[in-house]
Every structure is written in structure tokens, then in C-alpha cells.
């Protein structure tokens, strides 16, 4: 129940920030998707079940303010939330490189899924035209923004678990060194 509350709060704050402040941070026609970043990092910390739930909730919230094809956002974000959850590390560390890579990949995949399903419902977007102009730049932007979001999540969400995980990390490294 506590996890659900944290999830709901995180997604709601991300959504409100996305619809009010984030559009002003547009660079060259590209803006980051804070909701996707939060979904990915939440999934990365909590695993595939919570990841897909976060994806569904965040996507649906964004769908509620779309003017076309409600359901596509929740569909694409549920799928990437699930796969980001599979990348869950048993040990949460402060190394930001892996979450950056995961956010980059989820951003790419979510947009490609969105375009593919849009095509199925008769809403064509030329992938070749937008891949290097929109999709890749926004995935890079998302991965950069993932760093502060991940560190914030580590402080808030993993406050209880963090000490345990970090300790586990030290133990597992020691164990690896010992085996070598």
C-alpha cells in the first residue's frame, strides 16, 4: 500500500511538472518526457510488476490529456515499464550510468511502439523522418534528465532499502574479490 502511494505520488508530480514546466525546457523542438523517466527509474528500482503498473498509470494519465488515440500511451509505457523492471538490480548503487542507458532505451522503444500502434489505428507517422530528428534527441535528453531523477529516487524511495542494498553491494564485491 505504501509502495502504491509512493508510485501514485511520484507519477502525479511528474505528470504535473510535465504539463506545466517541462515544455519550456524544449531544445530544438525536443522536450523530455519526465513521466517516462520516472516510470523507468521506478521500474528499475522496484521490478517488472511495479514497473508495468507505473507505466500503465503514467501512460493513462498522459492519455487523459491527449486529443487522439487514448490508450496508446498506457500501452507503450506499460511495455517499457515491464522491461525496465527486468533490468532491476538487486543492488541499488549510486552509479548513474546504467539507469541512463535504461532510460535511453525505454525512451527509444516507447516512441517506436507508439508510432507502430498509431499506424495500426490509421495514424501514420513516418519513422524514417522522425527517428534522428525527434526520437533519438529526445531519448538523449531523457537519459540526461534521468541522472537527477535517479539520485532523487535513491534518496526518497530507497531510504529504507538503500542502506541494506549498499551494504549488500559491498558484501557481494568482497565475495567476488575473495573468489578471485
Amino acid at each position: 500500500m505504501q509502495s502504491f502511494f509512493v508510485l501514485f505520488l511520484a507519477i502525479s508530480i511528474a505528470f504535473l511538472t510535465q504539463t506545466t514546466i517541462i515544455p519550456y525546457f524544449e531544445i530544438g523542438g525536443v522536450q523530455p518526457d519526465l513521466v517516462l523517466i520516472v516510470i523507468t527509474i521506478y521500474a528499475f528500482i522496484e521490478g517488472p510488476v511495479w514497473g508495468s503498473l507505473a507505466g500503465f498509470m503514467g501512460g493513462l494519465l498522459q492519455d487523459l490529456v491527449t486529443i487522439r488515440n487514448m490508450g496508446l500511451g498506457s500501452l507503450s509505457k506499460t511495455i517499457v515499464g515491464y522491461f525496465a523492471g527486468l533490468a532491476k538490480k538487486n543492488v541499488v548503487s549510486e552509479n548513474v550510468f546504467l539507469p541512463m542507458v535504461v532510460v535511453f532505451l525505454t525512451s527509444l522503444v516507447a516512441q517506436i511502439i507508439y508510432i507502430s500502434f498509431s499506424f495500426l489505428v490509421g495514424d501514420t507517422i513516418a519513422l524514417r523522418e522522425v527517428f534522428f530528428r525527434l526520437i533519438v534527441p529526445s531519448a538523449i535528453y531523457d537519459s540526461l534528465l534521468a541522472v537527477p531523477v535517479y539520485l532523487l529516487f535513491l534518496k526518497i524511495l530507497a531510504r529504507k532499502k538503500g542502506a541494506y542494498y549498499l551494504e549488500e553491494e559491498r558484501v557481494s564485491k568482497k565475495r567476488e574479490n575473495f573468489i578471485r
Binding site: L16, G47, S52, L53, L64, I67, M70, S74, T78, Q111
Partner: protein, 284 residues
């Protein structure tokens, strides 16, 4: 135990995917007053007051970001604007003379055309923009007399049209949105076409035949043919004309002078819609 956890993961994924697909199917099949469409209107209304507060607080930070973002261009922009002011002053004098002459000739032939519209100012309180849609949220809704399809403008040109209305807020689809189409007219040749938004946020005027002479910087206005936008609203100017060997039409690229990413206030034209025997809310 591991198998059970794996099954739970997959089951959750499948259920949520199916739920999303069901929502999509119902949304595409239901009418505009269906429960999912209504839930969108309700969300817009609920979020409006919250967004209004957040946008007020965030406004100074947004200005600071805009300043930082534009700092490299300021000097060249300033010089360009000075040149433009001189040129525009000349144009104003010419246009004032033409307007007087036009008015005199209209009176002479007894021709009446509406050139001034009632407008209602509104504040931009949010943006439902992503790579795939460009939507503004404004703080005026049906209780202020706003209805679907009303055109939205600023001094620099046409902004878009109202696509969703709740009681205290409305959504504006920008003309740069990939699904937007505005019936337009080239001012020199009088040729009509449709100015369409692109997924990249650019504007293209389509359906201009190859034999039509289109000059760079030619003004593009609304033609009034679509039944949504009244005739004579400024959209932008031509900045590039391309011809493809096998295409039937010219590829006319349009430059809008509206800074869509920094809009804070807009004007809604409230009396431009054609009088229909049914409410615009009913059809789509």
C-alpha cells in the same frame, strides 16, 4: 517460487496491455460525448486550477530559461529586429493608405465584409505537448462563452483552434500540430491551399499547383474556406518553395512569426464561427 514470480510478472503485463487495448478500442469507437472523451474533459477541468497556480509560480524560472536559451542569438536578433522595424514602418504607412482607399471603394460599391472580430484574452496555463501532439491549455472555458473550433490568435499570427472545452479551461491545437490543417490563401496569386503542421513542428502549404508563381516572403492568410477560420487572418510567410519531379503540387514551406514555445497569452476569436443549425459540440 521463481516460476510463480515470473508468471505473476507476465500476467500483470498481459492484463495491463489488454486493458490499454480495450481503452483504445472503446475510445476509437465511442462518440465525442462518450465516457472516455468526457473523462478527458473532466481531467482538463480538474487540472486547470492546479496548472494555473503552478504556471504562475514557474513563470520567472521559465523566463530565466528562455533568456539562457536565447543568449547566443540576442545580438544578431537585435540587429535583425532593428532592420525589420524600419521595413515595417514603411509597410504600415503603405497599408494605412491602402486601407483608407479600400474603405472608400467598399463604400462606393456597397460591399460589406467583416474585418474586425470580438476577441477574448486568455492565459496559457499548461501544455499537453509531446513529440506527437502540440496542445496548449488556456484558462477560459465554456462558462466564458468558449466553444469548440474557435480560432486562437496572437499579434504575430494564427495560433490554432479550440479542440476541447471544459467549464473553466480549454485545449488549443496549435497550427504546427501534425494533425492541424488551415484553409489558406497566397496573397499575390490568390491561390488557395491548406497549411498543415508537420511532426517536426514545421508548417507546409499543400495543394499549390506547379504552375502557380510563388515568391519568397509572400504573405499567407486564412482563406475562410474551411468553415473554421475566418478569412484574412495572418498565418505566416513563404520561406522556401520546392518542386518534386513527379509531384502534382509545389512544396511551399511556411514561416510563422509566432513563438509557439513561449506563448503566455492568446486571443480567442469568439464571433468568427459560422452560424450552424446545430451546436458545434455535437458534430466532429
Amino acid at each position: 517460487m521463481r516460476f510463480r514470480r515470473g508468471s505473476l510478472n507476465k500476467l500483470t503485463l498481459i492484463i495491463l496491455i489488454l486493458a490499454s487495448m480495450l481503452i483504445l478500442t472503446f475510445y476509437l469507437r465511442e462518440a465525442n460525448d462518450g465516457i472516455l472523451h468526457k473523462s478527458q474533459v473532466l481531467t482538463t477541468n480538474t487540472l486547470a486550477s492546479l496548472q494555473s497556480g503552478v504556471s504562475k509560480v514557474a513563470s520567472p524560472f521559465n523566463h530565466a530559461w528562455e533568456y539562457v536559451n536565447n543568449i547566443g542569438h540576442l545580438k544578431t536578433e537585435n540587429e535583425r529586429l532593428k532592420d525589420e522595424v524600419v521595413s515595417l514602418k514603411q509597410q504600415i504607412i503603405t497599408m494605412q493608405t491602402m486601407e483608407k482607399e479600400n474603405e472608400r471603394l467598399r463604400k462606393l460599391v456597397g460591399f460589406k465584409e467583416k474585418t474586425h472580430y470580438s476577441t477574448l484574452p486568455a492565459r496559457v496555463i499548461g501544455r499537453y505537448s509531446s513529440n506527437w501532439q502540440l496542445i496548449l491549455v488556456i484558462d477560459k472555458g465554456s462558462k466564458d462563452g468558449i466553444s469548440k473550433n474557435m480560432p486562437v490568435m496572437v499579434g504575430e499570427g494564427l495560433v490554432g483552434q479550440i479542440v476541447k472545452v471544459s467549464s473553466s479551461a480549454a485545449q488549443v491545437q496549435l497550427i504546427t500540430d501534425r494533425k492541424s490543417g488551415v484553409a489558406a490563401q497566397l496573397i499575390n496569386s490568390g491561390e488557395t491551399g491548406v497549411v498543415e503542421g508537420q511532426v517536426t513542428g514545421e508548417l507546409v502549404m499543400n495543394y499549390i499547383a506547379k504552375d502557380v508563381v510563388v515568391s519568397k516572403n509572400e504573405l499567407i492568410l486564412t482563406s475562410g474556406l474551411g468553415g473554421v477560420f475566418p478569412k484574412g487572418l495572418f498565418i505566416g510567410t513563404v520561406y522556401e518553395v520546392k518542386e518534386t519531379p513527379y509531384g502534382l503540387y509545389k512544396d511551399v514551406r511556411v514561416k510563422s512569426y509566432v513563438n509557439f514555445s513561449e506563448l503566455e497569452e492568446v486571443l480567442i476569436i469568439t464571433d468568427a464561427l459560422p452560424i450552424l443549425p446545430f451546436s458545434p459540440e455535437e458534430g466532429d
